[in-house]
Amino acid sequence: MKISDDLYDDLINIEIDEDVLDGISEVRIKDLALANIENNKTTNLRRVKSMKKRMLLVATLALASTAVFAQTLSHMATRFEGTIGYIESDITPLDIKVNSSDLVMTAAETVIGHTEALIVITLEDKNGRSFGEYDNISFADIIINSNVTINYGYTVDMTEDGKEIVLIIDVSAHEKINGKKMEVVITDLVDRYEHKELTGITLLDVQNSLEQGIPIVIGDAERETTITGLKYLSEEDVLNEAQFISEDAVGQIGEVIQINAISNNNIEERWGMWLDFIDTRTGEPIEIISGGSGLGSPKIEVEAQIKNDIDLEHIEIELTHRGITYLVEDIWEAHLDLDSGMDTISKQCDIAIDGVGTLKEINISKLGLDVYVESIVVDDIDDEQLVNSSKVIKDFLVHPNLSLRLKNGEMIEMEMYRSSAGPDYAYTGYRPVESNLGIAYNDTVINFIPVEEIESIYVDGVELLF
């Protein structure tokens, strides 16, 4: 994006793609533009009419194309290994909307816990096409629309013959999911490409070279990239970032180094470059705070936490070139009214957390356990106290020494897998580290909690009986 002496210059000098009018009717534009001046009608009247026509069309299509998925045996039961019987009665099918390409959604199912849900979706080509030749199959976009605020992660798998694509979505919410609506919208099947290259160039090499005014080039011929800048950000900038980046940044203010680079090759749209910094003494990557490269843009900017500049000689630059190739362009949709969740057990409590917060509520379903913590609001708290309080609560939530005791005396250790926080509360989810109950599909393993067998829960040494 070029920005010159006027904000509108970017628009005035806009680069017009050859396909800018794809799907756009020039005839309709002209028709509308002329009709409203010739007949002295308002555009609103015209628009209402055309919108009504469109809405009717959409309604007709929806009636004709929405098919309710129904089968006697759930997809999870046939594909996942493990104790599927434990959640069989909790599996709910989603309504699948028919799509336009040959790749069709063949199943969409969910299991809903208290604040979490598992969604499994499968797609197959009508003509039996295999996607087995692609290494990193995925989707360009996956969106879950819901009337409850949610977070989600997903994995995309394939059957061995590459003919069935299995999408597993792990959903967590900030409140109870049951009774809400959910819509899964998947866009374009793609193959993700990623080329990583350890460059042999350290940050010290870069610093020395730039100090002498010599640009330093990294990467092989196809991905040749010039490092154009290296600087430490001011403490003020870093403090400012700490409020916005993530909880992890709070209380971890160190020195942040910013690297700028530019690719010497043409970067096609939907392709991008990335830099990582590897500590050669441990082989571990240095924490990246922010940064990136605009897709289709040759410019790269990355910020990383470098605590000590004497480490520069031990930090090597890794260059990544990544992008996507479109395999099937389409939109697949599935809808669900979440009116049937599994039973949940809840426990109200009042466990103090070092004078800065209180654990108020615990909810447990087969899919996970979540705790609700309120922080104690103190007037006139200064920034340092606020950071310390946040740290105490965070430490408690990450390492709460949380475990479940079953009726047979067996203990199940729990580990945190998600957390969301507001100004005076935190909602944190935990799952069993291991469990005798669970299902697996390739590398995706989900451990269940035997809810009916729970005798008590231990929170930081305190036992609460159910």
């Binding site: 994006m1 920005i3 002496d5 006027d6 904000l7 509108y8 970017d10 628009l11 005035i12 806009i14 680069e15 017009i16 793609d17 800018v20 009018l21 799907g23 756009i24 009717s25 020039e26 309709r28 534009i29 002209k30 028709d31 509308l32 533009a33 002329l34 409203n36 001046i37 010739e38 555009t43 628009r47 055309s50 919108m51 469109r54 976009d141 003020e236 900038d237 400012n240 970032e241 409020q243 916005f244 980046i245 993530s246 700028n260 991008g272 705070i289 922010s290 940064g291 990136g292 490269s293 605009g294 897709l295 843009s297 410019k299 900017e301």
Partner: protein, 179 residues
Amino acid sequence: MDDKSILLNMAKGDVASYEVLIDKYTRYVVAIIKRIAINNLSNQDIEEITADVFIKLWENREKLIADSLKKYMAIIARNLTLNRLRKVNKLCELDEEESIDLDTPEKELIQKEMQTILLNAILSFSEIDKEIFIRRFFYMQKITDIAECIGIPENTVHTKIARGKKKLEKLLLQRGEII
């Protein structure tokens, strides 16, 4: 036919010249709408907004100046697109302190002096920061859309906006301006 002749004829009520203008600038207007809306509007919406841009030009045909025609179209297209996005709830919700006046193009031109001051400040940002700032505050795009377009995590967009705002605040305070 050049823009000057088109506008001269349109001012006399010549619909044929108006059609020439539509043919000449449809691609330009659609490109602007698409740039601002990303994928948040249907093709039908884009067609209707494009038509409305031309209707606005027809309604103001006696006042148009050839030299600023493209800019006038850009302003109208941007404002109509933002209005439509607002109607379909695809526009980002800004904090009160971030809000931007979406009034008439004329009013925006009056605000040019302030705009120039802000623009000079934005020009001191890095390329990525500039793009994020313009997308957020000029195109009113959502953080998720900006992250998707630029190919960086949402948290990074938040960070860069926060940092950019801080820088702007500092620069304007140094100049004795108030945001």
